[in-house]
Amino acid sequence: MPVNTENKLCVRCVLPENFPGVRFNDEGVCIHCQQAPSAVDVLENVARLHREMVTAIEMNRGGRDYDCIVAYSGGKDSSYTLKVLTESFGLKCLAVTVDNGFMSEQARVNAKAVTEALGVDYQVFAPAWDFMSRMYKQSVDNSELHSKAAIKRASAVCNSCIGLVNVYMIRLALMHGVKLIAGGYIGGQVPKDTAILELNLDFYLKTREATMERYESSFGEDTRKYFDVPQELLQSSQMSKLTILNPMLALNVAEEEIIAQLAPLGWKQTIDTGVNSSNCRLNDFGIAMHYNTHGFNPYVFEISEQVRHGLMTREVALKKALSIPSLNDVQWQAKRLGVEIACAE
């Protein structure tokens, strides 16, 4: 893995100067660090989010078949989320994995072990490969697919996949009469301060229409099956709102602590998913392509946020942010997707 040192980085976090919208002061501190709340404020904010989450859970538990649908990748963050919701909050969860065709074998084993140890129902949904490969290929080929700001959050292939997963969780919630959906997103991966997000479904579907049209013209047949929530389902569920929880934002736990807490459940670290993922083998491909197009690591904002919150040392963050897989490293994924990528010497 080549290490990139071309761009100046913020001296506090690791945001590079070419990250969209970033500015540095004379001391080399980025605008996000300049505006960052103090350590005390961060803790207070986390405590407040936690209280709000407790309230949201109490108000919305007691769905028909389950209390909560958990978007479960088998990775460390969503494993920890599932553990907390089940053990600390006593929620009856349905854990759901969307198998995107690139799931690590170890993640599969982990998901089975964790759900078994926690005693929760577990479901795997593997969309047809024909569609998934088309979706991923188009995500690479079509730069207009996602909103301009989406490149700050994740790579193009990740953004498509996250969209598909989110919609599937919403459909399941409506089908099972469940008012809570939880995911293991951490700070930086979702809009700021969205540990609890009340989603008005009408509003969500309306604001998605433009995205939907781009998706449909790009992914073709079956797009709406995977990305739309049908009106009939919405009506028959008689639900108008869902509450989306991102407990990781209200917990503020460091990576090592998460891994230590998951070990007794039989969760083991994956070795084939790169430094920024613990479940997906396509992730490195997304990073390599993103870096090639935009010149920065799609995880760099999230990593920087972790540093700002005192959850990761700058040293570890630097290592993560600078280890960019080369296009050579991700040839097998490209081949599997039928994507032509130029190979450096």
Binding site: E144, D202, F203, K206, T207, E209
Partner: protein, 90 residues
């Protein structure tokens, strides 16, 4: 949060600055204050939720659910008008 009343130009500038730095919008010949920010690809559902939070917090206003799904918050001009209307009504 601000309690001092401000005029429509200040309001629009503040919203425009937000859209430029957060949604990476570029207002130029092709994108004007009347361009649909969703169709131009500057806003998606997540971006919209963030924008609404920003507007509520920085102008000290609240939107109703009806307003949020009304499709009225789709251009810089429409957003400004709606926000200014709420500020003036205070």
């Amino acid at each position: 949060m601000t309690n001092t009343k401000q005029n429509s130009t200040d309001t629009q500038d503040k919203i425009k600055q937000y859209l430029i730095s957060n949604s990476l919008a570029e207002f130029d010949a092709g994108v004007t204050e009347n361009s649909d920010l969703f169709k131009e690809g500057f806003l998606d559902s997540f971006g919209y939720i963030e924008l609404v939070k920003f507007l509520e917090k920085s102008f000290g206003i609240r939107f109703t659910d009806e307003e949020l799904v009304s499709n009225k918050l789709n251009t810089l001009k429409n957003i400004t008008d709606m926000v200014q209307g709420k500020i003036d009504a205070r």
